[in-house]
Amino acid sequence: MTDTNKMQPLIWFALAGLSIALFLVAGSVPSLNDFPDAWVLSPTDFMNSMMGGFVSIFGPAFKAMGWLLEWPVRWSQALLEFLPWSVTTAIFVFLGLIGSGWKLGLFAGLSMIYMALIGYWDESMNSLAIVLISVPMAVTTGFIFGVMGFYSNRARKIIVPILDLLQTIPAFAYLLPILILFGFGTTVGLVASILYAFPPMVRNTILGLRAVPEEIIEAGIMSGATPAQLFWKVRLPAAKKQMLLGLNQTTMAALSMVIIAAVIGGTNDIGWEVLNTMRKAQFGESLLAGFVIALIAMSLDRITHAFATKPKEIVRTGPNYWVIAVLVIAALAALSTVFPFLRKWPEALLWNPAPTMNAALEWVVINGREWIEGIKNAAFFFVMLPIKIGLNKAVSPFTWGFELTPTLTLGYVGLVAAGMFWAAVKGRFTLAAIVMLWGVVSYIGLTEMPWIALFAIFVYAAYVTAGRNLAIGTAIGMAFLIIAGVWPESVLSIYLCGVAVLISFSLGTLIGIWASENNTVSSIVRPIMDTLQTMPLFVILIPFVMVFKIGEFTALLAIIAYAIVPAIRYTEHGLRNLPEHVIEAADTIGCTRRQLLFKVKLPLALPAIMLGLNQTIIYGIGMLVITALVGTNGLGQRIYIGLGNGDFGVGMTAGIGMAVIAMVADRMTQAISRRKQEQFGLVQQHI
C-alpha cells in the first residue's frame, strides 16, 4: 500500500491535468469531449430482437402463467369488494389490537375509516388485494430459496448474487420485461411485487436458520430427532422471529411495488389514483390518495412488526381477543345485511376536502411565488447548475448577475491554488491534488467533463477505495455505459444523485450527531424517519411537486427527503452504540463533552457512518428513478420512456446502467466502511 500511497497524489494531479488538457483541445477534437455517436454500439436492437425471439418461443407459456395468476388476484379483489367496509375495518382493528394493543388497533381502524370517508375504498381494496396474494407467494418463494441457501453452499452462491441484482435494479426496470412477457393486466403488478419482495424473505430465512445456536441443534439431536424433526421442530421454530421480520420487510416491499406498478396504468387502484391526479395537477386529490397509501403502509408495517416481535405471554391475561374478534366480525357481517350503511359507506358521509386543498395550495403558490421562485432559483443557479455545467457556463449575468471575466477566472484559479498550497504546506499532498481536481471539475462541470477524463477518475477512485477488482469492474461497467450510448444520461443521473447524496449525507450526519447527543431531538426525529421509510416512494414526491412543480429541483428535494433517513439513522446508531468501556475510559481521562464527541466517538463511529453513506447512495438511486415522473433527464427517464413505449432494449439498457452505478457506489462505500472496521477491530453493525 505504501507504493500506491506515494503515487496517489501524483495520479490525482495527473487526472486533473488530463481533464484540463482534454477540455482545452476539445474545441478542435470534439470526440475527446463527447463520445462520438458513430462509435456507439447500441445494444437496444439486439436486446429487443433477443426479447422478441424469447417471447415468440416462451410467450404463450408466460401468457398462460399470467392467466393462471390472474385468478387468485380476481378472487381476492372480489372478496375485498364483497366484504362490507365495517367487517374489513374490524379485521384490521383486531389485528392491531391483538398484535400490539389498543393504540395500534385504533390507528388501523382510523386508517380504514379514512379510506372510506375520503371515497377511495374500492381503489384501496384493489391494491390491498394484490398485496394479499403477492405476500404469501413471495414468502413461500423466499422461504424455499432461503432453506436451499441454508443447506447448500452451492445454492447460496447462486442465490445471493441474484438477490443482489434484484435489489439493485431499480423498481421501474422490473416492470418492463414483465409487461412484455405477461401482457397488460394486474398480473404485472403481482409478478413484479413477488420478484421485488421475496429477496428479503430469503435473506432473513438464511440469517434466522444460521443464527440458531449450535447447542440447541445438538439438544435436538440428543433428543433423538430425525433430520425432518430437527428442521420442523427445532431449527424452524427457533428461527421464527427472524423470519417474521422477513415477512414484515416482504410485505412492505410488496406493497411498494404494487403501488409503483400503477405506472403501467389500466388498473383501478390507489397507486394509479395518485399518479393520475398528479399528472392532472390535482394535487389535493393526489395528496389525499397518497395519504391512503401511507396509512396502508404504516398499518401493515406496524401490524406485521408487532406480530414478529410480540413477547411470549406466560399465562394469557385478560379476554381471548381472537374469540371476541370472530364474534364481533360475525355480528357486523350479519348486521350489514340489515343495515346497508355498514356494508357500503354512505354517500352522504363522503368527505372531499380536495377542492379546498387545491384552492389553499393555489393561494400559497400565488402569494408565495417570490419566495418559492427565489429558493428554487438560488438552489438552481448557485448549487445545481455550477455542478452540472460548471462555473464556466453557469456564471452569467442572467444567473449570477455578472459575467465570468478572465480576471474572475484567474481569481478562481488563484483560490484553488491557495487551497492546494495550504494542503501541501500541511504535508497532505493527496488532499492538495484532490482540491485541484475538485477545482477543475467545478469549473468544467460534471456533464461537460471530457468522457475519457471522467472514466479515468471513476476507475482510479474505485482502485483507491476498493482495490483492483472493483477498478476492473468499474471500467467494464463504465465502458458499457459509454459504448451503449447512455453516457450523457448516466452522467446526468450521477450528477443529480450526487448532489442529493452530498446534501443528504452532510445534513443527515449533522442531524444524526445532534440526535445522538440530545434525546429530545432523537425522539422527534425518529417517528419522522420511520414514516419516511415506510412511505412508498412516489408518495414522497407529492408535497414537493405541489409547491415547486416539476423539474430537477423538485426531484432533488424528494431524493434528499428519502435519502437523508439512513444518514441520520446510521450516524445516531453508530454514535450511541459504541463500546461502553471506551467511553468510560475517555471520561476518566477527563475529556470534555466536545472532546469526547470529536476525538473519540466520531472516529469510532466512522464505519457505521460510512455504512450510512452507502445506504444514502442506495436510497438516493432508488428515488432517482422514481423522479423521472417529475421530469428529470437521466437514466430514470430512459427507463420510463422504455416502459411507456414497451421498448425493452431502451428500458433495459438504462436499467442495467442504473444498476452498474448503484453497484459501483455500493462496493466503494462498503469497502471504505469495512477497512475502517477492520482497523478498529469492530463487528459490523446491522440495523
Binding site: 445456536p213 447447542e215 440447541i216 445438538e218 439438544a219 435436538g220 439431536i221 440428543m222 433428543s223 433423538g224 430427532a225 430425525t226 424433526q229 421442530k233 427445532v234 421454530p237 427457533a238 421464527k240 411470549k312 406466560i314 399465562v315
Partner: protein, 360 residues
Amino acid sequence: MPEGNAPSEQVKLSCRNIWKIYGSQPQQFFDGTKGNVGDAPAARGLAQNIRDSEHIVAAANVSFDVHVGEIFVIMGLSGSGKSTVVRCLSRVVEPTAGEILMDGQDLLKVSKSELIEYRRHKMGMVFQNFGLMPHLNVLDNIAFPLEIQGISLKKRREKAREIIDLVGLQGREASFPSQLSGGQQQRVGIARSLAVEPELWFLDEPFSALDPLIRRQMQDEFLRLQRELNKSIVFITHDFLEALRIADRMAIMRDGEVVQIGRPVDLILNPANDYVKDFTNDVPSEMVLTAGDIANASRPLTPEMGHISADISLATLLPYLADNEAGIMVRDGNGNDLGAITARDVVKALATNAPEGAGA
C-alpha cells in the same frame, strides 16, 4: 465421593482409542486400525504426524471406561478436546476412528435409525449454555424429547411435571427460557435430559456459565440427584475443584490426549506429570487429605468416641472436631480401627502440607 452410592464394577460405557481428526482427508491415517495404533508413544507419534500434515487433532487415542452408577469427569482447559470427546460418545460428532461400546454394543456400527433410538431412550445431555428451545415454555421444553418420540401431549406433560418437582421448578412451568435466570435455565436443561430416564447422562460443563454461588448450589443438587437416580455419568468441566468435588474417577485431557485417569486422590498424590501437578498445587489440602491419611494409631480410643470411615475428607471432619475435643475414631472399609484424630492432628497435617514459607 464418599457420600455416593458405591459405583459398581460393571462397565456401562467403554470408549476405546477414539480419534477425531478435522481436515481434508481425516480417514487416511486409520486404515482398518479401529484407532488402535499401538502403545501410547506410538499414538503420540501418529498424532504429531497428523498435525504435521495439516489436519487438526481434536481427540487422540482417547480410552476410558464408565462404570454403572459412576460419575466420570473429563477435565481439561479450553481446546483440550473434552467437549469433542463427549460429543463423540453420542455421535453428535462422528469419531474418525475407535470404538464406543455401550453395554458391549459398538455404537459406531449401529445404523442411523438405531442411533436415534439410543439417543431417544438411553442418553441424556446437558449443555453449557443450556440449549433450550426459545419458543417453548419450561414444561414443553422438558417434554420436548418425549414429543420427538411421538408421545401424546397429555402423557408427556404429565411426565414433565414429575420431573419439574425433582429439579425444584414448581410454579415456573409456563415461563419461557428468556424469562428465567441462568440457574433456573440449567435446571430446565437438567430436567429435559432426565425426561427420558436415560441410563447414560452426559453433562458438558453444565455449571460453567453460572455465578460461583449458584454453581456451588447446583453441584450439591446434582450430587443429591445422583444419589437418588444412580445414573452412569460423563461430566465435562474445566474447573479442577469442581472435578474433585463430584468425581468418582476423572480423566485429565490436554491437546486431545488423555494425560491421566484415576480417582481424584490418586491424581493429587501421584500426578503423572508436571501438567497435572500444576492443577493439584492450588488444591486446598483439607479437601484432599482423608481421615485415613492422618489417623493416629497412638491416640487412645475411648468408647464414647464417634467413628467415621477412612475416606472422609478433612474438610468434612472440621466442624465435628471443632465441637468434640476428644476426637474421632477412624475405621477402614473392613471395619478395622486405624486410630483416632483430634483437632490438633488436623492442624498439624494441614500445617505440614501448607505451601512453603507458611511456617511449619
